[in-house]
Symmetry: C2
Subunit: 456 residues, 2 copies
């Protein structure tokens, strides 16, 4: 996405000044600091961060429990809790408005989403991706192209005055199936190992990667256009090449390196040493992805893909540590992942829905998202496989859609924001609705299949 | 410490401006943002944070493994790794200088130290604190007063021109035994349940609280003096009263509330729900402590004290979750606690040691710290208890000393920093040396005792 890393570095004072500043504003309880020391680099007011974390964790749990009690995924409850917290201003309560822009909460949310994608990567591995084969690839391809085209048309009908590239960007937010939500629904239905389940999971993994490439291409074109540069297919090739190069290098070199690193770490010893190595891989590949112009989450996902759970279990077994890396990461995910989803909810501007146009746009966008993924059923090559179930399983959009929208909100073209408040809010609603609609539909379809096979 | 909470709040733009700003700088991968959006509230460059985390985690592990391989505690290795990373500038390598002042790393370090103190609080509980009784109280009191007085004299000899209160502040950094290091050394020696072990642990808990009250008093007096206000004993009483009030209220109301919250949460259900409640208690009490003028870590420690591991295990057992909260927190601690210690090391300015005075000061301060704690042996009332072992066990200073030094670095009196570069570096060396010296001394003493009782 043509991203220039060092553009926002803070200007560095001379080295002689650095330590005094660091000391005056030193991390720790960050209290008892005189006002004069405030605002320097490294200084942080922990009060709003602590208050924000308490609110977010409570809201996430209550929202999750509420939605799970009615058989819906927890992530919807977290988004809703955020929407409530973020829109108390509508009731005249503005004490929490700062949460929307708090740097500390932002950083924790960003690290949280890295852990989510790392965890999704851990769930699948490279071999499993290869084995799902052609069907997954076709399902993924159709499931990326069709919703994107539909999204383009919906956006251009609703906002005829906008730049065409913004319509493509809206289309891009409809591309990626949420692996997390899909996998969780299949697990709840004990269908992870069915033929349909494996195709859906494989395709979801592939369309995640495809979606990220689409994002890189579209965002790259928009940035070039915004700089007044001509649309250069070479740029696109370079962006695609860079991301593929990163992924291939991460998977090949990463696999080689991770095996050696874990073996070395298990000899190094120390409590939690395997977890530390996993964290280094997650943050390290996220860093390299960002350096290659990709989003850090691509790197985190690749890191998860690369780690070999079997090796980790074997090495851990020698020290009596039999849990998988996924299980060991669970507490960190429990802490940080909801921060991302609640913050996404907090940033939804309900005031935008006062305009009936926005609401209508959200509903039509959702329809495009649902219908677009039904093209997936044409990609299933296997016989005796329920095509409708595959199409339904591909519906849920999640974190990736929100991330795309968030990135679009930071892009401009010809002085106009690519994703404005209305579109951002509509995407959040689309994510919520596609997530909400999938479990009941999948339950209905798969139970009908069970009934049929029972009758045979 | 007379801390005014809202002094450093960012000025808030009108509400209409907030959402666009939030969106333009939205959390997530924080990439592909045009330079124009950079620097607004909520905007974060993830690249230095990711690079910093990778370096810190690798450094922490290598340092820890190195020190553990020679029978020393891991925390020393983490500090050393930080010192190396932070002083590469001396070799002409300035690429990492930004780490000292990175806001993201600072926030993660601050949350890390909360988890450390929360975890220390979990290790002890209120009943165990009450049971250790008079000996622990006397040991703690002597172990706070003597090093503080010795520290005052050392500082006033070395820096006769400084304000007397800065000498008391230096004394205060010598007060608190590091519960974490002490407990870990005792566990390594399998002496946690010996008579000496229980007295040391109880006293370490009490002198932690005492040290924090001392800090509140000294810092409060300094802030009053800096504002030109008279030294008012009422202020001191108010500060002491506030901190005691917070601790008593946190322990009494917190215990009542936590039992109900965990029972409620276990009915609420959901993966990791008990962990979320524990996090809410940790951050919530940290927030309330900060509001009461105490350091957030006091609240995190109180939260750990208040949580009832027995209840948590019982409630968890119903859902097949038998691990203690301590074990469930382990991965988060593995991630975040080293960030604090490595960052502390990073902030040590080795250039300050070029002055022989500073080095001499560090050594004499360490001597005062070690000798001061030997007064503790006078507080042991029980017969048949090795007084020397208790005195040696109280030697290690850790995170609390560093935190005091960090807070002192942010305080000024009569235009002069209370803890300047030289003193800060000396305190870090003192922490390292007291931590380094304890394990071999304790091993020597306790093995001699074992030998004696074997001969009987």
């Amino acid at each position: 996405m043509g991203y220039e890393a060092p553009t926002m570095r803070r200007p560095i004072a001379s080295n002689a000044l650095l330590l005094p500043m660091a000391l005056a504003t030193v991390a720790v309880p960050a209290l008892a600091r005189p006002a004069s020391a405030a605002g320097g680099p490294g200084s942080v007011d922990m009060l709003p961060i602590l208050a924000g974390l308490v609110l977010i964790l409570i809201g996430a749990r209550l929202g999750a429990a509420l939605f799970e009690s009615i058989g819906q995924p927890a992530v919807l409850g977290e988004l809703l809790a955020g929407i409530v917290i973020g829109n108390l201003g509508l009731l005249g309560l503005h004490a929490l408005d700062e949460l929307r822009t708090d740097v500390g909460i932002s950083i924790l949310a960003q690290i949280g989403v890295l852990f989510l994608l790392f965890s999704v990567g851990l769930e699948s591995d490279v071999k499993r991706m290869m084995a799902v084969g052609l069907s997954s690839l076709l399902v993924a391809t159709l499931g990326v192209i069709t919703p994107m085209v539909l999204g383009f048309f919906v956006s251009s009908r609703f906002f005829p005055g906008h730049h065409p590239m913004t319509h493509w960007f809206v289309g891009a937010t409809l591309t990626a199936t949420s692996v997390g939500i899909t996998a969780r629904v299949l697990a709840d239905l004990r269908r992870t190992d069915s033929k349909e389940g494996r195709i859906i999971l494989g395709a979801a993994v592939i369309d995640d990667v495809m979606g990220l490439i689409v994002l890189a291409v579209v965002a790259g074109i928009i940035e070039a256009a915004d700089r007044g540069a001509a649309f250069a297919p070479v740029t696109v090739l370079w962006i695609v090449g860079k991301s593929l190069l990163f992924l291939v290098a991460a998977v090949v070199a990463g696999q080689w390196l991770s095996r050696r690193a874990f073996r070395l770490a298990s000899r190094l010893g120390g409590q939690g040493v395997m977890l530390s190595v996993a964290l280094v891989f997650c943050f390290g590949l996220a860093y390299l992805a960002a350096l290659s112009g990709l989003a850090p989450i691509v790197g985190a996902f690749a890191a998860g893909l690369v780690l070999d759970e079997v090796q980790i279990r074997q090495l851990g077994g020698r020290n009596g540590e039999t849990r998988s890396m996924q299980e060991r990461l669970q507490p960190i995910a429990t802490f940080l992942v909801p921060v991302f989803f609640v913050l996404m909810g907090i940033r939804v501007d309900l005031a935008a829905f006062a305009q009936p146009d926005v609401l209508l746009f959200a509903l039509v966008l959702t329809l495009a998202a649902v219908i677009g993924k039904q093209a997936c059923s044409l990609g299933v090559l296997e016989k005796g496989c329920d095509r409708l179930a595959v199409g339904l399983g591909m519906i849920p959009r999640g974190e990736v859609g929100l991330i795309f929208a968030a990135i679009g909100a930071g892009l401009t073209i010809a002085g106009e924001r690519v994703v404005d408040n209305a579109v951002f809010s509509a995407v959040v609603i689309m994510v919520a609705l596609t997530t909400l609609v999938t479990p009941p539909l999948l339950v209905w379809r798969l139970r009908r299949l069970d009934g049929r096979s029972a009758m045979k």
